[in-house]
């Protein structure tokens, strides 16, 4: 024992000194630790605030990120409802010749294809769309570039559009290319509305409407449906698709290949196997055009495919924001560590004084850890306020919809606290291990 001490004259730190808690003596009054830490922060207000900046940005980013993605999810959830049940979308893709059918060898999605789709087992309903943009005139008001949607009588049931007044056109009117039209809800308001009470100055039903150069008669007004996907249902004018073919998009090729359509909807029986029905649709369409399924230039999607496509976009955005939040919390943490290290050096003498009057290593460690934690939590609080405010602002001014999730505030706070403890630990430990004699000598 004696010789061992001679060999190692400088007593190294014995294990019990590196253990964080001096279990044998307990800790000081926690209230005092808080008070000391708080006073430490107030001593350098500007510095404390700048140190918090990283945490503030990080926490605000977390909250805004979550509120935006919650908003997007809410929108998607509404779209699922709005899409209609068990729909398959058959969309004309662009052939190799490009849009406009310059290359007539490319098979087109045509009106006659509806009959093919309708004949497939498992398909319980179909509808079809062709679209044109026209200037319309009614009740003395002229509107330009109004979307004119040519459809079939099935459309309201397939796409779940309710009719508020009047009626939708029927098969006879479709077959005879009757000059009738149904107004979308907001379009009706624009043309015939007056004030905010939602009443019409003139009942639109029976009124004439000039579309392009064609005079139609309004027979119905659709109920509000809102925006689904990229389509504002309420801003459209619904007409029999035959009018679109005849008046708005006349095609010299129609005689040979039929009237091109933008989209065919197929409503699938709930019982039927979706995959199987889609395969059948592809097969039948391909054989009707004398091509293989692989050559079929159409996009066939279910509503789930469409939701996933939109979901992927928001997920990419969400990931980006998560990175921003993570990186700024990390940078904030490093900032805290940096300042705490400076603070420990600056206050070495103070540490020595505290040690000389009875502060244990744990007391010192807790003091600096509490300061770091306080920096990050106060930063977290400011960040939460900025985040909530930012979310509200984004939602109010931007195109993005935001929903503030209370749990995100907790999450952000938790991360801030974790950052404070993690990055505060090293400086606090450094302070705790200072030798009181050295510390007292420090100038």
């Amino acid at each position: 024992m004696e010789t061992a001490r001679e060999i190692d004259p400088v007593p190294a730190t014995t294990p019990e000194e590196t253990v964080s808690i001096d279990s044998d003596v307990g800790i000081m009054d926690p209230v005092e630790i808080l008070r000391i830490a708080w006073e430490g922060l107030l001593r350098n207000k500007i510095r404390s605030l700048l140190t918090m900046l990283g945490v503030i940005i990080g926490v605000a980013a977390v909250i805004i990120m979550i509120s935006i993605s919650a908003g997007t999810e809410a929108t998607i959830a509404e779209q699922i409802e709005g899409l209609g049940a068990n729909l398959v979308f058959i969309q004309a893709g662009f052939g190799r010749g490009g849009p406009g059918g310059a290359n007539n060898n490319t098979p087109q999605l045509v009106y006659d294809d509806v009959a093919i789709v309708e004949g497939i087992n498992g398909v319980v309903g179909t509808s079809v769309e062709q679209f044109s943009s026209q200037t319309i005139k009614a009740d003395g008001i002229t509107l330009e570039d109004v979307p004119i949607l040519g459809t079939t009588p099935d459309f309201p049931s397939v796409r779940e559009v309710d009719i508020a007044s009047g009626r939708y056109f029927n098969e006879t009117e479709l077959d005879r290319t009757s000059k009738v039209a149904v107004l979308g809800a907001s379009l009706a308001q624009e043309l015939f509305g007056q004030g905010e009470d939602g009443n019409f100055s003139t009942d639109p039903i029976g009124q004439p409407i000039i579309v392009g150069t064609t005079r139609l008669t309004i027979i119905g007004v659709a109920a509000e449906k809102g925006i689904v996907g990229n389509t504002d249902f309420d801003a459209q004018l619904y007409v029999p698709i035959s009018i679109v073919f005849e008046k708005f998009i006349p095609s010299q090729f129609a005689r040979f290949i039929g009237d091109r359509v933008r989209l065919i909807y197929a409503q699938i029986d709930e019982e039927a196997d979706m995959e199987e029905v889609i395969n059948q649709i592809e097969l039948k369409l391909a054989s009707s055009k004398d091509i293989t399924v692989a050559e079929l230039p159409f996009t066939i999607q279910t509503q789930n495919d469409i939701i996933e496509t939109q979901g992927a976009t928001t997920e990419a955005f969400r990931n980006l924001l998560a990175w921003v939040a993570g990186v700024s919390l990390l940078v904030g943490g490093i900032g805290i560590m940096n300042i705490m290290l400076v603070s420990v050096t600056e206050r070495t003498r103070e540490i020595g004084i505290r040690q000389s009057v009875g502060a244990t290593p744990t007391d010192i460690r807790l003091q600096f850890l509490t300061e770091a934690l306080m920096l990050s939590l106060v930063g977290g609080l400011i960040g939460a306020i900025v985040g909530v405010g930012g979310s509200i602002l984004f939602g109010a001014t931007g195109d993005m919809r935001t929903v503030i999730v209370p749990a995100s505030i907790l999450l952000a706070f938790g991360s801030a606290a974790a950052v404070g403890i993690f990055f505060g630990f090293f400086p606090a430990n450094k302070a705790a291990q200072l030798d009181p004699i050295e510390a007292l000598r420090h100038e």
Binding site: V25, D29, I353, Q355, S356, P436
Partner: protein, 237 residues
């Protein structure tokens, strides 16, 4: 002497150094100081008196030997345990006062109370106690002044009040008059004499012969050993 022993060291050794070069700061020091004694420790620089003070003050541990402070064996204690001993048993008065900057005299005096273990005292009780200590050193009217607003002598009085607040068995002065002019130094000595008069045990390091002469006993160190241990015998005010 029937008085209780406050400090007892046995063959105290402290060796500093790395590898080959070793410096024996203390080379077998045996001291016994009883309750109520007023002792001055002197010696040229490098004699080991600072090391002895640090060990007696429980700021440092001996490499070898034993140190018993008020019947407590402290030589083998952990850092944390030593901190508690410093808090409960020892009051320090430093040459450079060592008050916390930007902190009022009152809060400075309260500082040791914050690190008390076991007994819980309220903020009001602490303030009351600190105020009484400041009154005892004649600085009640300066309680809310920060160190920079106080003279050197006043700062040292605050330090004395802080040293007394936990009612320690031992008051340690590390050249308490070293930074003060003669007149102010004399005032601090006067204060220490008063404390001694009330039965306090005081040990202080000093360079000044005339300061040492005011104490009851002078211990002179040289090369880590006790060279002289004299009872001054003259006056014990």
């Amino acid at each position: 002497m029937a008085a209780k022993t406050i400090i007892q060291t046995q063959d105290l050794r402290k060796v500093y150094g790395m590898g080959e070069i070793q410096v024996k700061a203390l080379d077998g020091v045996d001291i016994q100081i009883g309750e109520g004694e007023f002792v001055a420790i002197m010696g040229p620089s490098g004699s080991g008196k600072s090391t002895l003070m640090n060990i007696i003050g429980c700021l440092d541990r001996p490499t070898e030997g034993n140190y018993i402070l008020a019947d407590i064996e402290v030589s083998d204690m952990s850092k944390a345990q030593l901190a508690v001993i410093r808090n409960q048993q020892i009051g320090f008065i430093f040459q450079s006062y060592n008050l916390l900057p930007r902190t009022s005299a009152l809060r400075n005096v309260m500082l040791p109370l914050l690190y008390q273990r076991g007994q819980k005292s309220s903020q009001a009780e602490r303030q009351e106690k600190a105020m009484a200590a400041l009154e005892a050193v004649g600085l009640a009217d300066r309680a809310h002044h920060e160190p920079t607003e106080l003279s050197g002598g006043q700062q040292q009085r605050v330090a004395v009040a802080r040293a007394l607040i936990n009612d320690p068995v031992l008051i340690l002065g590390d050249e308490p008059t070293g930074n003060l002019d003669t007149k102010t130094g004399e005032e601090i000595m006067q204060l220490l004499h008063e404390l001694h008069g009330r039965g306090r045990t005081i040990v202080m390091v000093t360079h000044e012969q005339y300061i040492a002469e005011q104490t009851q006993r002078t211990i002179i160190l040289r090369d880590g050993k006790i060279e002289v241990d004299n009872r001054n015998g003259n006056r014990s005010r």
